[in-house]
Symmetry: C2
Subunit: 358 residues, 2 copies
């Protein structure tokens, strides 16, 4: 099984090293993992002038799965947009057809205090956000700058983007979400803005239609503004949330911050062939890069998702997740999740603890 490893920028290389360490420990039990490394993001731009070099993209395409660190650094902020590190991630999503982004927001009992929300509001939080990742206003054409061709500001300079969703795009993400709900508490909330947007009235209609094939899942619909409120007010009422690319970007980050420990949250981005890109939900944190203090657990948990969703090794995924739990139970904490009474450890020590627990 070929794993493309793209460490990226900032803390990317450090956290990726720990996840690879954990996967190598799993491999010892008789699995054949080949790791092929390639540069991505700012690191790739610095090396070869483009954040997603052709070689990196073909490696990713040919691999069974991509393990991705993080991209972005202040030093690339002044580049033109098409050269900036985050273009690599948009390019990988689009070129690999990674339409289904799974973003769990789980609050570990040991870390309940880290949340800015009251313990009773978030303890035991376990929700899954299914975000469509290759459509919507992220990629919709036409887009650009022009002179306004009509409207109240005709003749003025303007910029514009196009929000679009086609029937098959909505159907396939709806199926992913309903199936995910079937494997959980069988409740699915589809988030839209059907009261204002044509795109999301269509979205709502089609999700409702697909829902008829999943009579065991209880489907409801919520406007995005209300969802942003309910996530703050009573997040535990949600089981699975499905939404479009733009709303999903906002709500999944909001949901992950409810836990107070985004250093713990993995993500998976899947295509129709089962290939996937796995990355922590947090960013590249250039401010702490190279100090050995970054939390590798989100990346290690992303590796677990990779075993489950792309490599057909769900039991090994369970084992990694249990090992992470064990590390927490032992009181080991990187600085981002450290609290009085627990033991502060480095990035590598945390990775080692997971390996030991395995």
């Amino acid at each position: 099984m070929k794993i493309a490893v793209l460490p990226g920028d900032g803390i990317g290389p450090e956290i990726i090293a720990e996840a690879v360490k954990v996967l190598q420990r799993i491999a010892q039990d008789g699995f054949d993992f080949t790791f092929e490394f390639a540069p991505v993001g700012g690191a790739a731009y610095a090396a070869s002038g483009h954040p997603l070099p052709e070689a990196t993209l073909s490696l990713a395409k040919s691999a069974d799965a991509v393990l991705f660190g993080a991209v972005g650094d202040w030093k690339y902020d002044t580049l033109e947009r098409h050269l900036r590190p985050e273009q690599a991630i948009l390019g990988l999503r689009k070129n690999l057809g990674l339409f289904a982004n799974l973003r769990p927001a789980i609050l570990y009992a040991e870390l309940a205090d880290a949340s800015s929300l009251k313990p009773e509001v978030v303890s035991g939080l376990d929700i899954l956000i299914v975000r469509e990742l290759t459509g919507d206003i992220y990629f919709g054409q036409p887009r650009g700058r022009r002179t306004a061709p009509d409207g109240a500001f005709v003749g003025q300079p303007e910029a514009f983007d196009t929000m679009r969703y086609s029937r098959p795009e909505i159907e396939r993400i709806a199926h992913v979400a309903f199936k995910a709900a079937q494997g959980r508490n069988k409740r699915l909330t589809s988030v839209d803005k059907a009261n204002v947007l044509e795109t999301f009235q269509f979205w709502k209609d089609i999700v409702t239609e697909v829902g008829q094939q999943y009579p065991d899942v209880q489907l409801d619909h919520m406007y995005v503004d209300n969802a942003a409120m309910q996530l703050v007010k009573a997040p535990k009422k949600f089981d699975v949330i499905v939404t479009g690319n733009m709303f999903g970007d906002i709500l999944s980050d909001e949901a992950s911050m409810l836990t107070g420990s985004i250093g713990m949250l993995p993500s998976a981005s899947l295509n129709e062939k089962g290939q996937g890109l796995y990355e922590p939900s947090h960013g590249s944190a250039p401010d702490i890069a190279g100090q050995g203090i970054a939390n590798p657990l989100a990346t290690i948990l992303s590796a677990a998702m990779m075993l489950r969703h792309s490599l057909g090794l769900p039991e090994q995924a369970d084992r990694i997740e249990a090992a992470v739990q064990k590390g927490l139970a032992q009181g080991l904490r990187t600085p981002d999740i450290h609290a009085p009474g627990t033991q502060k450890v480095s990035t590598a020590q945390m990775g080692d603890a997971v390996v030991t627990a395995l």
Copy 2:
């Protein structure tokens, strides 16, 4: 001074009655307010077949200010979109040119417990969201359903909307936001998604440019996903936030829910002539309508904003706000904000208490 009063649906009539009572008390001190009532939303649809009848719209246009209750009720959920209650509010915004929506999120010390966030995270919260209200994907043409003319799903049924902002639209909302920041703590966060959207790269460029006229205001830029996180993590770091219509819809609701008491939060929507529409941030709550238990304070505080922003009576606005504070300090609470040790009062009793405090 002519005030158009549009009570609307659900609890709208009850909360509006209290705000009018308070304004009538102010009028006794020598101000000439004329109140003209008109139906809007579901109530207007039921009476005359349209949520925003011509007569209601012309009244609103001819008034110095509009005092608006709330619209929406489950019984209108099955109507075609253009007849649904919320179309009235979109129609009023567009026809009156109400481009600047001011949404304070304030946590009253007396109500700190109501928040789902930890007290230390939200106590003393006082942020202002300035949301652009007549542009963006809310009104952008073209929009609709069609057969996809291009792209990976060419030939498939699709729906689409257009996000657009012209230079003058961004400039005028930026000026409103910078001026608001000048009257507060002189910090402005412009929220965009410049890393993905053409519209919001343009937004960021123009807000930066306008900022040169306000050297006393410290401007920063934040991506919308990060803003959704920071509102949960450390909301007190914000002073004024300015953003587009769609992001503002989501973030202003998220911010209001941080307080846990959206029954307390007013809003103002202003046009270039100083006319404004004033409404509570909460909805029509049809589930509790007619029971005399709704919280009228958001509407009363909206009336205060009306005195300040459209009627040139800032001192009277201050007086109303102080009277609301006094009612809270006396321990009076409608059921939505009731807590042990405080006195539960009805909608009308709360309104009366404010009048007495005046």
